[in-house]
């Protein structure tokens, strides 16, 4: 289980850190394996920050990150690298998700090499995963600026799935894609979660997507988690006024 316990994060800017911006405040959230947890909230409410903290791309100001019972919060980066394989993140903007200098294949190989897969097995692995994520093989020698957003996102999935992660943080992975591609990728992610027992934290502001994808939902506003519960319950009878308002607005 990936647990985020009472996470707070403040950003300090300006001279000697005079301006303090509280991005996340006392957020507690856990993701079990095989479960998809939705995190909704408007832009700037701190949901992406929380996602980045979960993979330790950002350090929390206070609070604990517990990965399968191991407290990894203060673990030095060098030791944490072994755990990186277990928790992966996918970002929103496909156009900057891969380095424009390299072809899709080179970017994918980057992750294969990290795991240390021998060159002789890399081809089979690529065939396997690309079939799973529907990545057309005739485009893998192109650069990211020569393929579509959906194709990049599939390449990113190939890169990440190679790690066989136990947990995936999805930071609005489909919000920049067109509807049909979005549906494909969402199906694929859902299948992956159930089949391979991957726990997912699905960050989005799209209520429909959350409703279709998630087992549980948490609502975030101004850095706090207001409410958390099963998807059906949350959508039928929300307790917090904010969630009610969101539902009304989306209708």
């Amino acid at each position: 289980m990936l647990e985020l316990v009472e996470i707070s994060k403040e950003f300090r800017t300006g001279f000697l850190g005079k301006n303090v911006k509280q991005a996340v405040l006392d957020a507690t959230l856990c993701v079990d394996r095989g479960e998809i947890v939705g995190l909704i909230g408007e832009s700037g409410c701190g949901k992406s920050t929380l996602g980045r903290i979960a993979v330790k791309l950002l350090m929390p100001s206070s609070g604990r990150i517990i990965l399968d019972g191991v407290d990894v919060t203060d673990m030095p980066e060098k030791r944490f690298r072994e755990f990186r394989r277990q928790v992966q993140i996918i970002f929103q903007h496909p156009e900057t998700a891969l380095d424009p200098q390299y072809t899709l294949l080179e970017s994918i190989l980057e992750s294969f090499n990290k795991i240390g897969i021998p060159e002789s097995e890399q081809k089979d692995m690529l065939l396997d995963i690309s079939e799973e994520v529907n990545l057309p093989l005739d485009i893998i020698d192109r650069h990211p600026n020569q393929v579509s957003g959906g194709e990049i996102q599939r390449a990113v999935l190939t890169r990440v799935f190679a790690f066989e992660p136990k947990y995936l943080i999805l930071d609005e992975p489909t919000s920049m894609l067109d509807v049909s591609v979005q549906a494909h990728i969402l199906q694929l992610l859902k299948k992956k979660a159930k089949q391979d027992n991957v726990g997912m934290l699905f960050i989005s502001h799209d209520l429909e997507v959350i409703r279709a994808m998630c087992d549980r939902v948490a609502v975030m506003k101004e850095g706090r988690i207001l409410e958390e519960g099963d998807t059906s319950k949350m959508f039928l009878s929300p307790k917090s006024g904010y969630m009610k308002q969101l539902l009304v607005n989306s209708d």
Partner: protein, 302 residues
């Protein structure tokens, strides 16, 4: 039947991958990355010609540039550009001087680029107090009036080429540092940096493979301009008489033309050619950098 078809499909895919694999690991890609551009080609050809002249000077120079003869001769078939006050052949001197000018230009530019890129990269990538300190230092260096300080340093140190190179190099890195710094700030905010870190790669790998790779066209452009400005700086110093008297450069040729009666006697064949050579060389470097920004893959994202 269906099974056979799917096996066929897989085999076809295998073949495709095999081919792409080969291509993506092949150096052949290096050439296809550089699109043909006439302006760049002109610049590169001029540069190759200049380097050839510098290397082959002893074989193509008609006279020994040190050998004295009848002074102040006008251009003739024997002496294309006449002779100077000591009767040395100016054309041969011009060919030999390209060696000093190019060596000073390249070495000083390499020093300035190495310092500038390291400072800009570190300051941009680590930010925080490291960045503040490094960029503060850069600002201080930028505030120092370069040419006067160079003149003072060059005057105090013995007038040798090997003193002039580090003096120019150490004073010319600031603008490179600034440009690299601002590009690194843009690159480090991109998601591929974060996702590579999430894969578990170290900072040095990310710096080298992703940050530097996306900064390289700025560095190439800056290097090329640094060579040009280092050559101009060397020419200014030499013109002021602070050059290396044992290794005559183009700037020094103008200096001698000025102090030994070339200008007074209106001997244009003495002072004009070295000036033109400086112009042509600087122009060649500028032409090379001219179109590189358009080719950048990263710029499309910014």
């Amino acid at each position: 039947m269906q099974r056979a078809a799917s096996i066929c499909e897989v085999l076809k895919n295998m073949e495709i991958i095999e081919r792409k694999w080969f291509r993506s690991l092949n150096i052949g890609r290096f050439t296809e990355q550089i699109p043909f551009s006439p302006i760049k080609t002109i610049g590169i050809s001029i540069l190759i010609a200049l380097v050839f002249i510098a290397i082959a000077a002893p074989y193509i120079a008609p006279h020994d540039p040190e050998k004295t003869g009848i002074p102040y001769q006008s251009p003739s078939t024997d002496h294309f550009l006449g002779t100077n006050d000591l009767g040395q052949d100016i054309f041969s001197e011009l060919l030999y001087a390209s060696r000093t000018s190019l060596v000073v230009g390249f070495l000083a530019a390499i020093i300035s680029i190495v310092i500038g890129v390291s400072v800009g990269l570190m300051a941009g990538y680590y930010r925080g107090w490291v960045g503040e300190l490094l960029m503060g230092m850069t600002d201080v260096f930028l505030l120092i009036p370069g040419l006067p300080l160079m003149i003072i340093l060059a005057a105090y140190l013995s007038p040798s080429m090997w003193n002039i190179i580090p003096v120019i190099g150490l004073l010319w890195w600031c603008s490179t540092a600034r440009v690299v710094h601002s590009r690194v700030l843009q690159v480090r905010e991109m998601q591929f940096i974060e996702s590579t870190r999430a894969l578990g790669y170290s900072d040095s790998y990310i710096l080298h493979k992703h940050v530097l790779a996306n900064t390289k066209e700025v560095i190439y452009a800056k290097f090329s301009l640094a060579v040009a400005s280092a050559m101009l700086a060397e020419a200014s110093l030499s013109f002021l008489g602070l050059g290396d008297p044992l290794n005559i450069s183009w700037g020094e040729m103008i200096h001698f033309a000025f102090t030994r009666g070339g200008f007074a006697n209106d001997m244009w064949w003495w002072y004009l050619p070295p000036g033109l050579m400086i112009c042509i060389t600087v122009l060649a470097f500028v032409l090379i950098t001219m179109e590189s920004r358009k080719e950048s893959r990263l710029v499309e994202l910014i």
